[in-house]
Structures are given as structure tokens and as C-alpha cells.
Symmetry: C2
Subunit: 227 residues, 2 copies
DNA sequence: CGAGGTATTGATATCTTTCAATTGGTGTGG
DNA sequence: CCACACCAATTGAAAGATATCAATACCTCG
């Protein structure tokens, strides 16, 4: 799924290129613009749609009993989001960069509704999602702060980075708090790790939201679990 | 999914009772016994089947580059395991208690093969799995060692426990190392937490593999994320 | 009964969090 | 256009939690 931070494994929940619709599905999917700060759906909403992100970035969150928030994932172009648990969405989903999605009717999931093809697409996206999340598990449980942040940067750069000369640059549309919540760290720790990477000339930070990878090799090394 | 350790949310990937097969699917599913210590499948195997566990316990693991092992999940009766990423299995799967499964042909997933009904069942199991894994995320990232172990015990007891008088008992078919790997802790920490729970008269341990819950309320309390 | 793996317990080290202060960036109104 | 205010990010010092290293106790199986 989305930003899963496992360079070593499968490349997140993206639709297989091959299975692009070759004919229009029964109920035509709907395009939808989504402004920054607005919710595509909220936890508990009736899941009437499933969405494929065509551009922008979404943040999927959940709120714990005690009010603390967990960032479940970041949705990037190509991802499918909004898998319902039953009939309800189980996360909040907010655009953190101007986004566009394609909405598929939820009951495309139900037998005899929606094309077999759409159903296939979604099923396979779900299976990829599961695989990706399993990768993320390993991340969360067995990696140090440095390894987590480095992995996060790598994944983000791989999926949204743009090359500049020999280097690659990439925007961090999310706040430090978002990153921290996603990785299971605190803001301070994330900040400290970024500072360290900066001081070691692995990355450069411009205006806190833009990162330039100066030494991808070192970053990759830092993301590896050191025994 | 399997043992997801989120009492506060959805109850893991089990098939919805309602959607039990009402008629035999095209290709009849196969029953299969699985002895302790034997593998149902291994990472990298071609995923020819998907399995529904009818009894026993499985351990799903993955191996990291450095040789360390991550326990992705424990499969309990009612769970569906073996979701393929593409055509390959992405975890090892070993029985840790004498088990029995129903095997469904993998290509039941592909359009026009297998009954629509089986496909539905699997799709919905996959969706539940995703939801359950998201719960597990929160576990791994925002809970302390005590909270993790307590949550783990609760889930296990809820799914496999047997009442004895006012108390409930339950077997831990997995080793401390398995539990530690699953929760992202070390064996020592798991052991220390169990000892503490024992000293506080919340649980009793008999022969290290059997746990008796003496104070479920206290255990539930210990599993809650304390601000 | 003995051997070998598994679990527990203890002491110490390491990492991350927490608390607190400072700096930096952004937007608004004078 | 600058100044202020507010929120986000960084930095520092100390506390807390878990990991690591090491030793001992406990099962289980030949």
C-alpha cells in the first residue's frame, strides 16, 4: 500500500499496468478533485466508493481511545484507498497535497455488480496491500529510528522524487508529526535523525518541506537493519 | 487477520458467518492435515492455493536480509492465510499446533475461474485482513511492552481460550521468541512482562506454555494505551 | 539421568522519549 | 513592507524504557 517503506520488497499497492480497463465498466467511474485539508472520507463514513489516486497525496489516519492519532499510511498516485471493512471506512482520509482521484462504486465489490474486471483490479490491489503492510510490519518492529526515517525517505523519493542532475529531490507534503506518527516515533526523534543525515551530508533540507538526496548509497545503507 | 492484537477494533480476518458456501464451488476445496513443524508453504513458493484454517495454529514468518526473522502473524482457526502477492507466497507458514486446513485453488481468484462466491469470500477476507493489519499497526507503534503483551494475551484468549470456572485458560503454542518477534520485542522483555503479570496476580503460568487469566479486568487495563 | 534447548533473572548499556527552551517560517494587520 | 503572533521544527538535558550481555534455572526428550 501507499508509503510502505520497504524498498526490499514489493512496490506498494499499485495497480498492475497490464490490467488497465480495456473496456468501460458497467458503472462509469467518477473523477474527483480534492483540495488540501479536505477529507475524502472519514472513519465511520459509509463506504460508498473506493478510490484510485491519480495525483496528489492523502494521509490516512485513525484516532486512538486516548485521543492520540495514528497515521496508517500515505496515499500516493497509483494507490487504491478506501478499502471498506464492512460497509464503513475505518480511517480518516485527508488530502495533504492537491489531489485527484477516480471513484469506483463500492458495490462493484459485490457479486454481479460492477464488472468482473473492476472486481479483479480491486482484489489484486487488496492483495498487494496486504503484502505491503506486512513489509511495513517489519519496519515498525525491527528498525531503529534512523533506519525507519531513511527507509521512509527512500520510498518517498522512489515514488515521488524528481531527478536534479545526479541527485534527486522530493517534497515532504506531510508534517514532521505526520511522519513521526506513521513511523511510531516522536517529532523530536524524527527531527534529530534528519539533522544527523544533514550533518553527515547525506541529505539537504530546504525550507523543511523539500529534501535533496545527496548520497543515495549512504541513505540506503542507513535504512538497512544493522545486525 | 490472524492474531492482530486489537481488542478495541474489528475481530480479525474471519469469514463472515453468513457467506458460508451454500452450494459446492466449481472446483471442490481440499481438506489437508498439517503436522507440527511442517510447512504449509514457504516464501517464494508458487501460490497454488489459499487456505482456510479449520483447526490448529500456524506461524507466518519472513526472513530479513540480515537473517533475522519477523513473525508476521499467527493463523488461528477461521483465518484465511496464503494471500499471494503475485503468484508467489510472501511468507513462510509453519504449523505450530496440529492443524487442518481447507485448500482453495489459487486461480479461484482469477476471473471466470472458481465460483463468484469463493471469490467474494476471499475478497472480503482480504479486506478484513487489511483492516486488522491496520489495527496491528497501532499496536506496534504506539504501545509499550506491557501493553503489547497484554493485548496479545487478550486476543489469544478471546480466540482460543477455554473457560475454567470464573477464569479462562489458554495454551501458548508459540515460543517466547515467536511472541517477541511478533510484537517487536526481545525474548527477555516478553519474559519480564509475563513475570510481572504473574507477580501482580493477573495471570498464572503453568509449564510456560499454558496461561491462566486470573484477573481479566486488570489485563484489559494493562493493554490500554495509557496517555 | 543427562543434555540441550528454552525461559527466567540480573546488571548494564543504548536508544528513544519527555520536558523545556529556542529558532524558524508563514500569514495577517497595521 | 515591516512587525507581531502563531504554529512547526529544531535543539538540549534528563529520565525512562527496552535491548544487550551474561548467568542461572527450567523443561523436555532421548
Amino acid at each position: 500500500m501507499y508509503v510502505t517503506l520497504s524498498n526490499e520488497f514489493s512496490p506498494a499497492t499499485r495497480l498492475p499496468e497490464i490490467s488497465r480497463p480495456r473496456r468501460a465498466p458497467a458503472a462509469a467511474p467518477q473523477r474527483k478533485q480534492q483540495a488540501v485539508g479536505t477529507h475524502l472520507f472519514r472513519e465511520g463514513d459509509i463506504a460508498s466508493n473506493i478510490y484510485e489516486i491519480t495525483s496528489g497525496v492523502f494521509r490516512l489516519t485513525r484516532v486512538l481511545e486516548n485521543g492520540r492519532r495514528q497515521v496508517i499510511a500515505f496515499g500516493l498516485p497509483g494507490d487504491i484507498i478506501g478499502f471498506p471493512n464492512d460497509t464503513l471506512h475505518h480511517t480518516d482520509c485527508e488530502a495533504i497535497a492537491p489531489a485527484e482521484v477516480i471513484a469506483y462504486r463500492r458495490n462493484a465489490l459485490d457479486a454481479f455488480e460492477g464488472s468482473q474486471e473492476t472486481q479483479q483490479r480491486i482484489l489484486h490491489a487488496a492483495l498487494r496491500e496486504i503484502s505491503a503492510m506486512q513489509d511495513h510490519f517489519m519496519m515498525l518492529s525491527h528498525k531503529s529510528a534512523m533506519e525507519k526515517v531513511a527507509s521512509f525517505l527512500i520510498t518517498l523519493v522512489q515514488r515521488t522524487g524528481t531527478p536534479i542532475g545526479n541527485y534527486t529531490t522530493c517534497t515532504l507534503p506531510m508534517s514532521r508529526a505526520d511522519i513521526a506518527d506513521f513511523l511510531g516515533l516522536t517529532v523530536e526523534t524524527v527531527s534529530r535523525v534528519l539533522t544527523r543525515l544533514r550533518k553527515e551530508n547525506v541529505i539537504t533540507l530546504e525550507r523543511t518541506k523539500t529534501v535533496l538526496i545527496r548520497d543515495m548509497e549512504a541513505l540506503a545503507l542507513a535504512s538497512q537493519v544493522g545486525d
